[in-house]
Every structure is written in C-alpha cells, then in structure tokens.
C-alpha cells in the first residue's frame, strides 16, 4: 500500500468551493424558469449570450484551463443575464459577459482576487455603453413564443427600439407622467415588467433561503440590506421626501436579486459577520439615496459596486476580537 503523509487535520468538511458554486447555480434554476415563463424564448437567448461571453472569456484568458469547471464563470454569466431586459440585443449581452469577466475578474488574477462583483461590472459597462437598450422593456408580446424586442440586432448598429414599451414599476413611479404604484403582490410574484430575473421576489427569496440553509450564503448581508433600506426609506417616506413606501423599496427593481445574489458574492463581501452588517447597511443607504435623488430609476447596482470598493477597509476595521482580550487594539508606535 501507499501511505500518505499529510499535515493535520486529516479530515475535511464536506463543503467545497466547487460545490458552493454549483449550488448557487442550482438555486437559480427556478428564477431562470420563471423568467422563461414570463418573457418567453428571449429570456433563454439573453441568458445564453451572457453566459457564453463569460465562459469563453474564462476559458481563453483564465489562469488555468480547468478554472472553467469551478462554476464561478457560469454564475457570473447567469447573474448578468438575469439583470438584463428580455429584448436586449444578444451581441450586447455577450459583450457584457466578456467585459464583466475580463475586467471584473480575470485582470485581478481570477477567482478570489477580484474587488468588484464581475456580473455587476459587466452590467455597469452595458449601462454606460448602451443606456437606451438596457432601459428598454418591451411590452408583453401576443404569444409566449414570440421574441421580445430586438434580440438579433446587428453588432454596432443602433438597435431598433420596439415602439411598444412598458415601464418598470420603479420607472413608472419615478419618471411616469402619471405615477402609478404597482401592487406589492405583483412585485412579489413577478408579473410586472423588468429585467429577466429581477421580477419574482418570491423565487429569489426561496433560492436565497436554500443557500443560507446550506451555509453557502451569509444571511447577515441580505438581512442587513433589507433592514437598512426599510428603515432609511421609511424615514424619508414618513417625512414626505420620498414617494416610495418602504415595502415597495424592498420588492421593486433589482433589490431582491442584488441583496440575495450579488451582494453576497463571497469574494467581494466582507469576511466577518460584523463586517457584513456594515456592508449591508451601506448598500441599503446608497440604494435609497440613488433611488430618491439619482438620475436613474435603479440604484442597487451602483450601491453594491461602491460598497465592494469599501470591503478591504471594512475588513481592516472589523477584525475579530481576539479570545482573552478586550478587543481594543494596543496603540502601536509608528503606525
């Protein structure tokens, strides 16, 4: 026999990084299914295009050929696709995937090294490059199987915008001529206009709870985001500055997807639970500010990206208290 000699511990927990990644993918299956149910084949096409962009980039520029199998590129592609409107031109979705993967993750050194959530970097790029296409939500088609919007627009040709567009609940309330408040139940179930995966709060919450139960998601992050969003927006609503009710804030736009799946990206969120609370409260605060005063209807993406940039500092400031000490750091001379 061959005897292995290794350092202790000689047993390991069953969880592995690859398993965590794939369980995130699995938890997103209902969300993907719902987006196909609501938006038809366009949803599949947009998701496939953004995933292809991420996977191709990871395969060609990743640190090693095997890195594609760890599932992280798949998650980025899936999450990016879910933030896009159903009628989005496929070449743009593909480009978003390439940019998010390349500039959001690989230039930092691949898995575990990036500062910003790669899916959101991809989306931020698309938002800057194609502001019209990314805020164009086509109205419901006549038949389920019909394509929405302009999926097959040619690259670098201005997309021909579908004349019939429907506003999203957030846009409706903020920029609409005749502000309409979308019923919360519609937001909860997802029967409203919006990006592919942002509409059904229910399925996203279920997926998130499944991940939290398996220990693959830190529940402190979504909970702290919800608490701070609710409290801060409630304050503004109560004194009459904002027309958004706190509950509407929670269930509209990219809030659910962002809080459960984007902000909780392990690589770009703080290490300790204490840090996660700081991180989540910061996100909630920024979301409310951007939604009320910003020039965009949605603020979740920028809120998360801005807080991503703060993570190294949050980690520094929230070091755990060493056992057997008061936790107060001794003053170090010269530092």
């Amino acid at each position: 026999m061959t005897v292995k000699i290794t350092a202790s511990p000689h047993v390991r927990s069953a969880d592995s990084t690859v398993q965590i990644m794939w369980s995130v993918v699995i938890s997103l299956v209902p969300v993907v299914a719902a987006s196909i149910y609501y938006f038809g084949p366009s949803a599949i096409l947009v998701l496939l295009a953004s995933m292809a962009g991420c996977l191709v980039t990871e395969r060609w520029f990743g640190s090693n050929p095997g890195s594609i199998s760890d599932g992280s590129a798949m998650i980025t592609g899936l999450l990016l696709g879910l933030t896009l409107p159903p009628g989005f031109p496929l070449w743009m979705a593909f480009l978003g995937g390439v940019f998010g993967m390349g500039f959001g993750k690989l230039i930092y050194g691949g898995l575990g090294q990036n500062i910003f959530n790669p899916a959101l970097v991809g989306r931020a790029f698309l938002q800057a490059a194609f502001p019209v296409a990314i805020t164009t939500w086509p109205s419901k088609t006549e038949h389920w199987w019909m394509l929405q919007g302009d999926n097959f627009a040619l690259p670098f040709m201005s997309p021909v915008v579908d004349t019939a567009t429907a506003a999203t609940p957030l846009g409706n309330l903020k920029f609409g001529d005749d502000p309409v408040v979308t019923p919360i139940l519609d937001l909860f179930l997802g029967t409203t206009g919006g990006s592919l995966g942002e509409t059904s709060a229910l399925l996203i919450i279920l997926g998130g709870i499944y991940l939290a139960y398996r220990g693959h998601l830190n529940w402190h992050i979504p909970v702290s985001i919800f608490v701070s969003t609710f409290v801060i927006s409630g304050l503004f609503w109560a004194i009459g500055i904002s027309q958004f009710t706190p509950v509407f804030m929670l269930f509209s736009g990219g809030m659910m997807l962002g809080a459960w799946y984007m902000a909780t990206d392990m690589v770009t969120s703080p290490l300790s639970n204490k840090g996660c609370w700081v991180f989540g409260i910061g996100i909630g605060f920024l979301v409310v500010i951007i939604r009320i005063w910003g020039g965009l209807p949605e603020g979740v993406m920028y809120a998360i990206l801005l807080m991503n940039a703060m993570v190294p500092f949050i980690n520094r400031a929230t070091q755990p208290r060493l056992f057997g000490t008061s936790g107060k750091k001794k003053k170090e001379a010269g530092k």
């Binding site: 026999m1 350092a7 202790s8 511990p9 000689h10 047993v11 390991r12 927990s13 056992f323």
Partner: protein, 441 residues
C-alpha cells in the same frame, strides 16, 4: 443539545467514535522490543542512566529528568538494553532512544512498591513524586504534570477542571477510562486537589458520552466537592481555554496560563494514571490507547506499554485493510501523519488511526474565495484568512504582532472548514517553526 455550556465558534467534524467506544480495553501482549525516546514531550530531553548490555526490570528508571520541564523515563518491560541510538520518532525526526530487547521468559512482574502511598506524602512533596513517576499530561501535549501542579505562588488555583471532553473524532480512550475506572479518576482528583491545596473540582464531559456521564455521577464519592458538567459536543471543546470558557464562563487572557484566572485543567486519563501510580506503587509505563479508523481490520482500545512499535500494534490488530491510506498518531484534527512503521508509542499517544482512502480524501487546493468560514470556525477569534495570506508571503512579523499567531493553538478548525482546501493550520505550524529559527533580538 441547546442549553449546555460551550464556547463560541468551533466545528463539527464527523465523530466516528462508535467504531471503538463500546469495546472494553484489553491488555496488549508484550512486544519483542521496546523503543523509549529520551525526548517524549515538550521540554528538555531526559538523561540516559543505562548503557548497552544492562539488564532492566519493568518500571526501572532508565533516564532521569534534566531540568524542571522534563520528565523521567522508565523501562516499560523487563529485558536487556540493546543500544542507545537515533531512532525514528513520531514527530518525524530521529531522536536518541533507548532500545530494550524484551526478555521473552520474564514474568514481567514489577518490583515492589517504588512510589509511596499518596496519603503518606506531604502536600508540597506530591508534585515531586509525580515527577519521579514520569507522569505527563495524557491529553495530547504531554506537558509534565508536576509543572502544572506547582503553579506560580502569586496565582493561586481555586478550581480544578477535569477534562473528559475527548473532542477529537475517533478517539475513545478517555471515554473508556471513565467507564472502566471511574474510582481511579476520583482518586486522582483527590491527589491533585491535595497537591493544589484546594477542594473544588468540575468534571467536563461532552454530551455524546451519556454512559460516561452516568457512570461518573453514579460513582462520585459523597465527600468530594465535584460537579459533573455535560458540555455541548463541538470541536475543540477539550482545548484548555475552551473548557475553561464553557465551565467558568471566563476567557483565559491572551498569552497567559489558566492559572492566571485560578484554574487548572487535567485530563481524565492523567488523573486516573496519577491514582494508578500511587495505588500500585509503579511509575507510568502504559496507558489505554484507541486503535481506530476504517483502514485497520480490528479496531479497539488497548492497554499498551510505551515504546511498542507501530508495526507490532498494526499486526496485533489484524493488519491493514486494502484501502488503508494514512496512519496518524493522535486524533484526525491535530494528530501527526506517520511515515515509518518503526516509530514507538509515546506517553502522549492517545490513539492511532489508520484512515481509509474514503476517510481522508484529499482535494485540490483552490483559490481563497473569502467566504469567511474560517473566521466563524476559529475558537479564539483569529482571522485565519488574513493569516494565511501573511504566512504565504512569509510576513512573519506581522503574523505575530498584528495577526496574533502566538494565540493560535493549531486546532485545525480553519483548515477543516475551508471549502478551497487551503491548509491553513499547516501554514501556521510552519510559520511557528520558522519563527523559532529566527534569533530573538
């Protein structure tokens, strides 16, 4: 399990104790040869008193303590000293060791009483007798017991804690001690209380040993001020600081010994063996050892003389199975992998594990995804993620001063939970070794 005292953080490795917990301990046959390293534990190596060709009886002193933190070595079987030579040690080094050819015709009866009755010894001299009998802590670190029993004068001990946690998976030797010789444990407690000049003691036992808790409760002498405290099953509950936190609710200050808050921890097996030494009048030369894992054909608990070679133990336990993959001295969380079948059993060896391929699957090391699970596992609230980065970059100074490497007890919880299989505790062990080589300025 809610409501039982414990400590914060920690991990839950699969226990695998049912492999051996129900098997009563049996006496192991005397091997043909015993190897007794002069350095069996922390501290200064002992000084050999015998030379090749000398005849020794079972229990004779063959090497004497060479300093305060050092301990006497005794012959564990009657026979002839064959040589004193460098021999493989379970820590992976070659260590000067006394090799004794065991006399096959010897009855292995021991000489007359070599240790006085403890009742006849003055309180202040008890720790001296304990040192002479070669008693060390049998919990794992093998710290000489007499050092612990002589705490600094300015730090009086108020409470004796008896450690029956046995939080390492697989190991059941302490469990068997509590089931098979509870009266010896209580006798040992009396001796320790006498040496410390105190009266109160608490016995902490993890709640996964209900039979041991029951047995200790049933046999508790009425006149002894002892409390049996069931504890949450969680690794590393048996670590000194964790046990003190669970029982007393207090944290031992960073860098200080338990005596600084008036506590002393002793393992149940140590207590039982202290009692056995004074009762039989013979020094510490054998102990109960768990032989377990799915890589050995007949797992069990055996009373084995120190110095017995790993090879003889495996042979007597039915040999290895087809898929045996790794041999470990100690528990799976902190034990040492063995490369040589000739290494001897030491006083500190509480178990020998032969793990099968399935039990010690090794996976590729992936990049850290900063999940923070190691922070949630570390029982002393370090930041293993950051420490791992510092260790990899060989930034030892920061590792010690800012990241508190010296507080790390290498329990392995961080490595255990790491989903990317990063060998964090190995990095920390290596860093500690590297730091020892750097001369202190």
């Amino acid at each position: 399990m809610k409501g039982l005292p414990s400590f914060k953080h920690g991990v839950h490795p699969p226990e695998n104790k049912d492999l051996t917990s129900g098997i009563p301990s049996k006496r192991f046959p005397f091997p043909k040869e015993v190897i007794l390293p002069l350095s069996q534990h922390i501290g200064v190596p002992a000084k050999a008193l015998v030379k090749p060709g000398d005849h020794v009886e079972r229990g004779d002193v063959i090497a004497e303590a060479a300093g305060f933190i050092s301990s006497t070595v005794h012959a564990t079987a009657s026979g002839t000293v064959r040589s004193i030579e460098l021999w493989p040690h379970p820590n992976g080094l070659m260590v000067p060791s006394i090799r004794i050819s065991v006399d096959p015709n010897s009855s292995q009866m021991r000489r007359n009483r070599m240790v006085p009755r403890w009742q006849d010894v003055k309180d202040t001299d008890l720790s001296k007798e304990i040192a002479k009998a070669g008693i060390v802590g049998l919990g794992g670190a093998a710290f000489p017991s007499h050092v612990k029993l002589s705490p600094p004068k300015d730090q009086p001990i108020e409470l004796l804690l008896i450690n029956g946690c046995e939080c390492e998976p697989y190991l059941t030797s302490d469990h068997r001690v509590m089931l098979e010789m509870p009266e010896m444990v209580y006798e040992g407690i009396r001796i320790a209380l006498k040496a410390l000049g105190i009266t109160r003691c608490v016995i902490g036992i993890e709640n996964n040993k209900p039979d041991a808790i029951e047995m200790m409760r049933k046999t508790k002498p009425a006149d002894l001020d002892a409390t049996i405290q069931p504890l949450t099953v969680k690794y590393p509950q048996g670590a000194e600081k964790m046990l003190i936190k669970a029982v007393m609710g207090r944290e031992v200050p960073s860098g200080a010994l338990p005596s600084s808050i008036g506590a002393m921890v002793q393992n149940v097996a140590t207590a039982a063996n202290v009692a056995a030494v004074f009762k039989t009048g013979h020094p510490l030369i054998e102990r109960i050892i768990t032989i377990s894992g799915r890589g050995i054909k007949k797992p069990g608990n055996w009373k084995i003389p120190f110095g017995t070679k790993l090879r003889d133990v495996i042979e007597h336990c039915g040999g290895l199975t087809e898929d045996a993959a790794e041999i470990v001295f100690g528990g799976p969380m902190m034990g040492q992998g063995q490369a040589n079948l000739d290494v001897p059993i030491l006083k500190a060896t509480g178990g020998i594990l032969i793990l099968s391929k399935d039990e010690c699957k090794r996976q590729d090391i992936l990049p850290c995804i900063r999940c923070g699970k190691c922070l949630e596992a570390c029982p002393i609230f370090l930041n293993p993620q950051w420490m791992g980065e510092l260790a990899k970059a060989e930034r030892y100074e920061e590792l010690v001063e800012d990241a508190h490497l010296n507080d790390c007890m290498l329990c392995g919880s961080c490595s255990f939970v790491c989903p990317s299989n990063i060998p964090l505790s190995q990095y920390f062990a290596m860093s500690k070794t590297q730091l020892k080589r750097i001369p202190k300025s």
